[in-house]
């Protein structure tokens, strides 16, 4: 039970400090918010500012329990002290009592169901994976972990900063409860919005739709960030409407802070800032207003951009790597990753998508509930000014779905859509109440299970015993996360600081070792490429370019074609008079693109190779600069064939210019020397990876299982369809 108290304290303390920071901000800005909306805005705005402060603490590695505790207590005390002098804020427009009763009964029922899910051990895929994986790593180092590279650690981490504070006291579940606080804030904020702008019944209706929506509920009880994003974006919209009415310029500061913190939570929320700027410019036409908004927004956005720029060399890492090349993530792998996210896998026709999003849920990772099939009625809201604005916001904030087809990427758009639906249906007597009650019933976990897909991501039970730790945490986690079974053998066998390679993502929040995942970093890409070399791309193909003897200080192979595939070279050798010119110490090697890995084409290993790691661009090249002029008459490329490449050999002339000398190639294949498996594990080991965590379905799993000795690996543990190997 003590554990539960720690969890509750961690979450409650983080929410309290956020609210205290926000209260101080609102007091400073002197905004005329009503009582409930002031409390909600204080939490939302304060959480953004608090996450900024924690991010700065992470930079200087002072994210420590004592700092959080005493700093947080001081802020709470300061806010309480300041508030004692403040006049009591006025209440919002009253709502019909019958509606309020219905709303709060439904709200309470779902609140309890969600609360116990959030309090239970965190077992969501991304929550136990990278969200809390990053948090756990940061907690171990009390700050940002600069030597761990993963696309997921480059994303903005505004909510993770709050998770970190909660984690410091209550570990994983405390973090999930912080996200649950956002989940609970969102419908209340929507109700406040309705009461302020005279849309009481539509807003209560919409709040029920949102709070009971399965994907929103599931996301909100896990250590994810989508509901936090939706809450902040809605707060931006809300504050913009209030500013439009009051024209108090201080609202623009609040809006800027919120819009900036939306970017800080998730890149896809960057839209909040341009939308806010456009709205303010449209309504005021003054640069001053835009600046008043932009400066605080920049303050909130800048830490994440600067962190990545200084750390990775790419301010927008892990995206835009083609514009900002860096040694930590390949542009081509980014494209493959992004392309993979925007495909509807398993959906045969676009008409299936609405059904998936509302009733099925397995192919879009979640569902909103059948009532959202009535979404076209939202168009009736176009009759109202607020309806037009809500619908426009719904469309704009749904745009990120183009990049990721997961239902949760529609969560920021859903509150606007639900409100517009409420507006559209408000004139039909009884419809709002009937639809809201129907939604409540069909979205209740036990009812939902009767019609949605088995694998739809949703809250499917209310795990009271696990939440209160009457059921021990370990078996509960092991039942939900199959990889957890290997936690003990891994932590017993792998020394601290050693890296583990895996083709698949793992619940890294629970495994106290660094896991290098195949698709998450350049290091992962390289390890994967090396391990797949023996079976997938042994460089048996030889391309020989012969020419008349020439004396030169440099030679390069240049591709002049453009194609979608990568161009790879395992070894580039230079020949003279029928023999390979011995590689000399003074040689310098280079390449473009991906020059960082040029040495891999000159290491005399057939397990490694240089690759463009992006679609083959014209003028891609691999180059040797000799220490002194060398007489050469052939270049040999040993590679996996890239048939689309058109390669020519160029030599450096005395005038310092490159001259093409031949593009005539003799193609042949030859057997490789024995031992490429050994070469592969040797080269993976050279990357600093001593352990391999392989699923039985992975590409080389069977070969490793059957020929462990040929790979020079020893199986350390096995369980649930995975094997854990040590490289000997």
């Amino acid at each position: 039970m003590l554990e539960v108290l720690h969890i509750l304290f961690g979450a409650a303390f983080t929410v309290a400090v956020s609210t205290a920071v926000g209260t101080l901000l609102l007091r400073r800005l002197r905004l005329d918010l009503h009582r409930l909306e002031a409390a909600l805005f204080a939490f939302v705005a304060g959480s953004g500012l608090l996450s900024l402060v924690i991010a700065l603490l992470c930079v200087v590695h002072q994210a420590r329990r004592g700092v959080f505790l005493w700093g947080g207590m001081a802020v709470i005390a300061w806010a309480l002290w300041q508030e004692r002098e403040s006049p009591r804020r006025t209440a919002l427009l009253p709502a019909p009592a019958s509606w309020l009763v219905v709303f709060y009964v439904i709200f309470a029922a779902f609140f309890l169901a969600y609360f116990f899910n959030a309090l239970a051990p965190e077992v969501s895929p991304d929550g136990s994976g990278y969200h809390l994986g990053n948090v756990a790593r940061m907690w171990n180092r009390h700050g940002f972990v600069w030597d761990y590279h993963s696309i997921y650690s480059y994303l903005s981490q505004g909510t993770e900063m709050l998770f970190l504070m909660a984690f410091a006291f209550g570990r994983h579940s405390a973090a999930a409860l912080v996200h649950f606080a956002f989940l609970t804030t969102l419908p209340l904020l929507m109700v406040c919005y309705g009461r302020r702008f005279g849309l009481v019944r539509p807003s209560l209706f919409a709040a029920i739709l949102i709070y009971a929506s399965p994907v929103i509920g599931m996301d909100g009880v896990a250590a994810y960030t989508d509901v936090a994003v939706a809450t902040v974006i809605f707060a931006v919209f809300y504050a913009l409407q209030v500013w439009d009415d009051s024209r108090n310029p201080n609202y623009l500061i609040l809006i800027g802070l919120l819009a900036g913190s939306a970017y800080g939570i998730k890149y896809t929320a960057f839209l909040a800032f341009p939308v806010a700027v456009a709205f303010v410019w449209w309504k005021s036409g003054k640069l001053k207003g835009v600046l008043l908004l932009s400066i605080p927004a920049a303050l909130m956005i800048a830490p994440w951009i600067l962190r990545n720029w200084i750390w990775i060399g790419n301010p927008f890492a892990p995206f835009l790597n083609a514009w900002f090349p860096n040694p930590y993530y390949h542009a081509g792998m980014e494209k493959i990753y992004v392309d993979g996210l925007n495909q509807y896998v398993g959906i045969k026709h676009n008409w299936e998508i609405p059904l998936q999003l509302t009733m099925r849920g397995s192919l879009v990772t979640g569902l909103f509930g059948p009532v959202f099939l009535l979404a076209p009625f939202a168009l009736l809201g176009l009759r109202h000014r607020q309806g037009r604005r809500l619908l426009l916001a719904a469309v704009l904030f749904a745009l990120p779905t183009y990049f990721n087809t997961g239902a949760r990427f529609l969560i920021p758009s859903a509150p606007f859509l639900a409100l517009a639906m409420g507006l559209g249906l408000a004139d039909s007597p009884g419809v709002l109440a009937a639809v809201a009650l129907f939604h409540t019933v069909v979205c209740w976990p036990s009812v939902l299970t009767t019609y949605c897909d088995t694998w739809a991501w949703r809250v499917s039970s209310v795990p009271v015993e696990a939440a209160l730790r009457w059921e021990p945490e370990v078996p509960y986690i092991a039942r939900h996360l199959r990889d957890y079974a290997l936690k003990v053998p891994i932590e017993q066998n792998v020394p601290l600081g050693q890296k583990i390679f895996s083709f698949a993502g793992r619940p890294e929040a629970y495994i106290d070792r660094d896991i290098v995942v195949q698709y998450e970093s350049t290091l992962g890409n390289l390890a994967q490429d090396i391990l797949q070399a023996p079976a997938a791309h042994p460089p048996k193909h030889r391309q020989r370019f012969s020419f008349l003897p020439v004396s030169t200080r440099g030679v390069r192979v240049l591709n002049i074609a453009s194609a979608k595939s990568f161009w790879t070279v395992a070894e580039m050798r230079v020949w003279s008079q029928g023999r390979e010119l011995p590689r000399a110490v003074g040689w310098r090697v280079s390449a473009w693109p991906n020059g960082w890995e040029a040495p891999l084409a000159f290491d005399n290993s057939y397990a490694t190779r240089w690759s463009t790691w992006q679609a083959m661009p014209p003028r891609a090249r691999l180059q040797i600069d000799f220490a002194r002029a060398e007489r050469i008459d052939a270049v040999l490329l040993e590679c996996d064939p890239a048939w689309e490449a058109r390669v020519q050999v160029e030599v450096l002339t005395d005038t310092g210019r490159w001259a093409a000398i031949t593009d005539t190639v003799e193609q042949s294949t030859d057997d490789l020397p024995d031992g490429i498996r050994l070469a592969a594990t040797r080269d993976v080991k050279a990357l600093g990876i001593r352990y391999l965590w392989i699923n039985d379905s992975d590409f080389c799993a069977e070969d490793m299982k059957n020929y462990a000795k040929f790979w020079a690996i020893t199986q350390v543990a096995e369980g649930n369809g995975t094997r854990f190997y040590r490289i000997d």
Binding site: P534, G595, W596, A598, F602, N604, Q623, L678, F710
Partner: protein, 175 residues
């Protein structure tokens, strides 16, 4: 003016980032190309502790993995080589003290594809290496090669009549 200045500043900053040059690198350490065996195919040489050693055994050689394996009455191995130029055959084996005490000096011979290649007299217990050039035409590239051994006298078990020739460590073709 302010907007222009901002635009120029942003453009400059972005240009600096995009223009990041990687430069060139010294040659990396050169790796060994041939590290050991691959599964799934015969080659020219086998050590008894190779992970795929069993694939080379035709008959009368122990299957218990180890640095040495017992060669029994008619030990036979198989190989395959890609290049037959300047080929030598070599076998490393040991006569254990325990059998030598019974048999006394042992004559070991080897035959390649049925033709005797070399013979050695082992006058004491210990390690031996028998090596001999392979005549042109005796083996063909990429074709199976049969190698048989004969030891005389052999140790005979008084219990069941089992015969032990020697302990084999490695055998195969080199250039």
């Amino acid at each position: 003016m302010l907007r222009r200045t901002l635009l120029v500043a942003i453009a400059e900053v972005l240009t600096v980032a995009c223009g990041r040059r990687v430069g060139s690198f010294p040659l990396p350490a050169q790796q060994s190309l041939s590290l050991g065996p691959d599964p799934g195919g015969l080659r020219g040489m086998v050590r008894m502790d190779d992970p795929d050693a069993d694939a080379f055994l035709v008959r009368d050689i122990g299957t218990q993995p180890g640095v040495f394996r017992w060669a029994f009455r008619y030990p036979e191995l198989r190989f395959r080589v890609k290049d037959v130029r300047n080929l030598k055959f070599a076998v490393e084996f040991a006569i254990p003290e325990v059998t030598f005490r019974v048999t006394g000096p042992v004559t070991v011979s080897c035959a390649v594809n049925g033709k005797t290649l070399a013979t050695m007299r082992c006058g004491h217990a210990g390690d031996y290496r028998l090596e001999h050039a392979v005549p042109q035409g005796l083996v063909e590239p990429r074709q199976p090669i049969r190698v048989t051994f004969d030891a005389n006298p052999r140790w005979v078990s008084p219990d069941d009549g089992a015969q032990l020739s020697f302990m084999l460590h490695s055998a195969g073709f080199t250039q």
